[in-house]
Symmetry: none
Subunit: 194 residues, 4 copies
Amino acid sequence: MASVPERLVEAATRLFAAKGYDRVAVQEIVDLAGVTKGAMYHYFGSKDDLLNEIYGRLLRMQTERLEQIAAGPAPVVERLHAAALDVVVTSVDNFDQARVYFRSAEHLAEDKRREMRVARRRYHERFRALVEEGQAAGVLRADVPADLTVHYFFGSVHHLGQWYNVGGPLTAKQVGRHFADLLLASLRPVEEER
Amino acid sequence: MASVPERLVEAATRLFAAKGYDRVAVQEIVDLAGVTKGAMYHYFGSKDDLLNEIYGRLLRMQTERLEQIAAGPAPVVERLHAAALDVVVTSVDNFDQARVYFRSAEHLAEDKRREMRVARRRYHERFRALVEEGQAAGVLRADVPADLTVHYFFGSVHHLGQWYNVGGPLTAKQVGRHFADLLLASLRPVEEER
Amino acid sequence: MASVPERLVEAATRLFAAKGYDRVAVQEIVDLAGVTKGAMYHYFGSKDDLLNEIYGRLLRMQTERLEQIAAGPAPVVERLHAAALDVVVTSVDNFDQARVYFRSAEHLAEDKRREMRVARRRYHERFRALVEEGQAAGVLRADVPADLTVHYFFGSVHHLGQWYNVGGPLTAKQVGRHFADLLLASLRPVEEER
Amino acid sequence: MASVPERLVEAATRLFAAKGYDRVAVQEIVDLAGVTKGAMYHYFGSKDDLLNEIYGRLLRMQTERLEQIAAGPAPVVERLHAAALDVVVTSVDNFDQARVYFRSAEHLAEDKRREMRVARRRYHERFRALVEEGQAAGVLRADVPADLTVHYFFGSVHHLGQWYNVGGPLTAKQVGRHFADLLLASLRPVEEER
DNA sequence: GATGAATGAGCTTTCATTCAT
DNA sequence: GATGAATGAAAGCTCATTCAT
């Protein structure tokens, strides 16, 4: 059986994803993990520390992957497509973590929230830099601010948590491809637009 | 001064938007509205009844407008563009309401939640019907499921609540246009895709 | 029957006096007062707010009486004697309140603690002024700092809570007289001291 | 570096003096002492056992010194003066211990509390015997009960913990002399009292 | 219509102590 | 001798809701 802190993080992830941070009692988490409250507070300073742990994992992982993809040798359009696909696939593959991540920033304590915002921003900016690179190279349209485009796309990703059905007809890869295609299509240079 | 129930709804909207439903105490709402708890329970059956009220308003309004736009005489591409623009503009114009709407579905009591899901779905389906109409007419690409496209777009809209700054440099109309343009661009029929 | 807040203050006074602030649970207080915790938190912001209430009452009362006595027309030696006697008698007459007062300053929250220190100091200084008046008039010895004398005397008063037995052989007035006599005797001008 | 139990007692003394027994967590003590909880429970049976240890040290020391002083050859008035001075000086020289001693009797477990009361009483009685000796000899006033006088004086001593400032202008010896002088002065036989 | 005192169940967190290693 | 993970009981506090007035 996994270690106690590991079990706690898993239990918390499942419950936070299902009901939202504020609707989950610490008692439920420790019950699901099969330990007592004292054990939880031995490893985590607070309930929101547990959230912080969940939160950070996915973001760190996605950031690393984005940086690797972005630094690759392929043409920028391909790298952007790969990055878009990747964030969808990893979000779906870690669906509970992702759902927690998508909605729980506001429940972090002030200091951790600041840290997280910094990390999120770094991710956002790395992604935006890809878009800007494509715009500078003339292969992506430049009449829509790159910043706005990134928000536009990540809105779609965050929204996955609200409709995507893990056992359903669409695989992670299919959704990822569609999303990446839509993004790239929307950024093709305009020629004789209305 | 506005009527008591009106003041309560306004106060609740402001507070729910700012802090999230679970982080707002009924006492805060009545304090901000300048009434007492008894008064609130005179007009509303419960805290989540207040949420229900807020919730419904924006959705009803946007649904009506969508139906009007969709039923118009313009070509489908133009109607879709107008609908996309409209949902962004009305969401930004009623920003607090929209933010509450975007993240508080799960706080409704079971029966109201069901009602709401029905209403949301109707909206979603009306929008999807527009996309499907364009696909059938051959003016929008058909290789991405219309359903997925609608989720994709509304993710972007819902995400507005997390980054859009009401007093900032972008007006509602500008964001709306960009979003609508991105949507339409992403749906142009593909010709010689990679 | 007394009002709820009154009953709560009484219950808290009894319990804090008997066991010390930290050893009394809010639950015990409300049980003794015959109400629920919710009721307590309706009237008092916190456990230490209850302490604050108890704390202030005795000090306010003794301060008023001291000021009246000190402002009287009698010779300073008589006024000092009366003041010393009075603080003993009122402390014994409100024995539980006094015991709480004597030991619980450190349990107040920081802001209230500051307030209380100011009030205590004012009391102390009013008393010291009496001693200094006697010294200036040459009727009390001046070779012991007035400040130290006051600490010396109030130590004795505070200590009452640790040995005085309310049902015992000594009445409040008897103890008060003895204490006042000892104080005055210790302050008689020295003539041919060793 | 000192032994583990020694370091624990020192750390506990510092913390109990500063914050009061109930406000200090065992974890804080072991952290300050640089050991672990297990180590503490290896040497001491409980938190209050640690208090007991601190508690006894000062009292044992002061009792020994009192007995030596009281048994000396000097006239009773001088012995009483010396005893009074000594208890002040040793209390100030061991200020943290003294502060713990002055206010933590009630935190001892029942059995140790009884022991302590016995030891305290013995000290008190030895001191009182000095006063009574002086009264019998006619060199101290007899119209105030010796018992009450002792309480009166020790109140002043215990109160030191609440106002005396170790780095301040008054040395231990100065305070001790003043206190002893005040005590002796208050006990001079009365002649022509008002 | 409206008040606000009161409820009661629930919350997160703390902490002295134990015990397998 | 010493560790530190884990317990379990209790703590202070919050809050949506009710109800006599």
